[in-house]
Amino acid sequence: MKRRRRGWSSWPLVLLVAAVGARADEYSFDVSQFEKKPFELNGYAELKGEDFALNRDAALYKLNYYGQPQRESLTRATETLELAGKLRQGIGSFDFRTHSAFQQDQLAHDQDNRFYEAALSLRPKAGVTLEAGKRALSWGKGYAFNPIGFVQRPKDPNDPQLAREGYVMADGDFIWNPGGALQTVALTPVLLPVTSDVNSDFGASGHPNPAFKLYALYRDTDIDFAWQGKGSRPARFGFDFARNLKTNFEIHGEWARILGAAKPVTDAMGNVTTELSNATSYLLGLRYLTEGNTTYIAELYHNGTGYSETEADQFYELVDAAFAQPQPNPMLQKALALGQGSYGRPFAGRNYFYFRAQQPDALGIVYFQPSVFAMLNLDDRSFQITPELLYTGIKNLDLRLRLYLLHGETSTDFGEKPNSRKLELYARYYF
C-alpha cells in the first residue's frame, strides 16, 4: 500500500521530466546524417494481393486462358523488390534500378528479375551531361498516355507513376539559358541501337535509331519537339506543351505523327492484311485544383494506330468463330497470335477519355487520399471506373486499396477484357 502511494506521488515528477525531455527533443535537427555519400542504396519492397472476377465470355479471357483450367475467379499474390543505387566519383556517377517480382496464382507462378536502369553519367559542366547504359526516358506531358514517348516503353495508364524498364542507349543533355522570354533551351540526343541481343523488343535489329527531344521554356510555357529517325520503327515526330493558365489550372497536350505505320487488321475469318499509312496521335489534358484541395485530371486521347469500333468487332467475331469450332483450328491460331499482338495490347482502341479526381486529407485525416479514376472508350462507350483509397501516414509505408470495375456490352473494349472486376491491395515499404 505504501509502495503504491509513493508511485502515485512521483507521477507529476515523471510527467514533468517527460515533458521537458519531449520539449528539448521537439525540434532537433542534425544535418550531419544527411551528408552526401559516395554510394547510396534505397528502394522499396511491396506485397500485393489481387482478386480477379473473370469474364469467361470475353474474347481476351478465352485467348489468355486458352488451354488452362477454366475459372470464375483468380487470386494472385505478388512480391516485388526494387533497389536503386548510385555510385559517385568526381564528375561521373553510375546509377541503377533493379526490379524483382515473384507472382503466384492458382494457375501459375512466375519470377522476373531485371535491371530497369543501369547507366554511367558524366557531367563535365552544369549544362552538359553524357550518359551510356540502360536508361528509362520519359518524354511527353500526358498523365496517362504519351504519344511522343518515342524511345520509351508505354506507361500503364492504371499506374502512370510506376517506374518502367528502360532501353540501352547513349544519350546526352545540353542546357542553355538564353534569358528573356526564352528562359531555357535543352537538347536531348539519343542513340538507341537494336541488335538481336540488345533492345530486341524495340523493333527490327540492325539500326542505330537516332532520336532527339528539344525542350524550351518560352513565356512560362513548356514546349518539346521530339523526333525519331526511321530504323527499327517507322520515322516519327511530334511536339508537346504544358502551361499554367492560372495557379490552380494547368493544360497540356501532345501531338505525334508516325510515317508509314504498319497495322495488322483482320476480318472475321482471320484474313489479316497489314495497312501502311501515316498515323496521327494526340492528347489534350488539364489539371485543376479546387479551393477544397481536390485535384481533377482529365485527358482526351486519340490513338492513331488504334482500332476503330468496326475493326475491333471483326476481331471479336473471329475469336467467337474460332471457339465455336473444334479446337485447335487455324482460326484459333490466328486469333491467339493477334491477341498477343496489337489487338491484345491494353487500350488498343482509337479514342479514350481519362478522368481522375483525388482528395488529399479527406475526412479530416491527414495523409488519407481517396480518389477515383475512369477510362472511357469514346467509340463503343465501354468504360472502367476505379475507386482508390491511399494512406501514407505511417513513415515510409504506403497502403493502397483499389477496385477496378469494368463495364461494356459484348464486342466492346472493356466488355471483352479478361476480367470484369478486380480488387487490389498493396503495402509498399520504402527504405
Binding site: 559542366k125 507513376q161 517506374a163 531555357t184 495557379t247 479551393e291 515510409n396
Partner: protein, 245 residues
C-alpha cells in the same frame, strides 16, 4: 558586421526625419535580405504534427538563385527521397525519380501533404510577389499589409508583423482573396548562421482549415552560395543531388 551596419543605418534613417513616412517597400526589401541571402543553400526539416501528437518529418536541401529561382531536393523520408521541386517565378514542377519526368504543380498544393503548401516550401522573395499596401507602427513592431501582384500568387493578402530591431518577420497571416484566413506563420528562435545571416531558425504554422494540426519548419546550414542558371531547369532536376557538397 555588414548586416549590423545596414540595420543601424536603416534605423537611423527611420528615426532621423520626423517627416519621414514609413517606407513599407523598403522594410519588406530588408526583411527579404535578412531572411535569406539572394542566393543561398540550406537544409530544412518539415515536421507535421497531428492532433494525436504523431509526426511525420521531411528533410530537404534547397538552393535559391536571384529573386525567384528555387529548387528543393527531398533527402528524407525514404518514400520521398530523390523528389525534386523547382520554382521559376510562378511556375512550379515536381520531379519524381520513378516517373522520370517533371510534372507541373500548383502553389496551393502540398507535395508533402502538410499545412505547408508548395509556395511555403519553395518560397521566393516577398518583394517578388507582393506590393506593400500599408505600413504602420505597433509598439516594437511594424505591421505591413501586402497585396499579391498577380492572381497567380498563393495568398492574395498577407499581414506581416516585423520586429523593428532585427527587421525580421515575427508573425504572418495569410489570406485568400475572399478574406478567409488560410494560415498563420510564427517565426521563432533567431539564430546566427554565420556569414552575416542571422534569422529565425524555426517557423511554426497553424491553419483554421487544419484544426489541431501544426507544421514546423527548421533551418540549418543556411549560407550564401552561387549556382549556374542551368541548375534551375527541368532537364537538370534528376541531377540536383550532385550539387550538394
Amino acid at each position: 558586421m555588414r548586416m549590423r551596419l545596414s540595420l543601424l543605418l536603416f534605423g537611423f534613417l527611420l528615426l532621423a526625419s520626423p517627416a519621414f513616412a514609413l517606407d513599407g517597400q523598403q522594410i519588406l526589401q530588408q526583411v527579404d535580405r535578412n531572411l535569406e541571402p539572394e542566393s543561398y543553400e540550406s537544409y530544412r526539416k518539415l515536421i507535421d504534427i497531428q492532433p494525436d501528437g504523431s509526426r511525420k518529418e521531411y528533410v530537404l536541401w534547397t538552393a535559391k538563385k536571384g529573386r525567384d529561382k528555387v529548387v528543393a531536393l527531398f533527402l528524407s523520408p525514404a518514400s520521398d527521397k530523390g523528389r525534386v521541386t523547382l520554382r521559376l517565378g510562378e511556375n512550379m514542377w515536381l520531379y519524381m525519380p520513378s516517373v522520370g519526368k517533371p510534372i507541373r504543380i500548383t502553389s496551393l498544393q502540398s507535395v508533402t501533404g502538410s499545412v505547408f503548401n508548395n509556395a511555403d516550401i519553395l518560397r521566393i522573395d516577398y518583394t517578388a510577389e507582393y506590393d506593400v499596401e500599408g505600413a504602420e507602427e505597433q509598439g516594437d513592431r511594424y505591421l505591413l499589409t501586402l497585396k499579391a501582384k498577380t492572381g497567380d500568387v498563393a495568398y492574395d493578402r498577407l499581414k506581416m508583423w516585423v520586429d523593428k530591431r532585427h527587421l525580421l518577420p515575427v508573425t504572418i497571416e495569410c489570406y485568400a482573396a475572399s478574406g478567409l484566413l488560410l494560415k498563420t506563420l510564427h517565426f521563432k528562435d533567431i539564430k546566427d548562421f554565420g556569414g552575416g545571416v542571422k534569422r529565425p531558425a524555426t517557423l511554426e504554422t497553424d491553419s483554421p482549415l487544419y484544426k489541431g494540426y501544426k507544421s514546423v519548419m527548421l533551418w540549418s546550414g543556411l549560407k550564401k552560395a552561387s549556382f549556374p542558371d542551368e541548375v534551375f531547369t527541368l532537364n537538370y532536376l534528376p541531377r540536383v543531388e550532385e550539387l550538394r557538397k
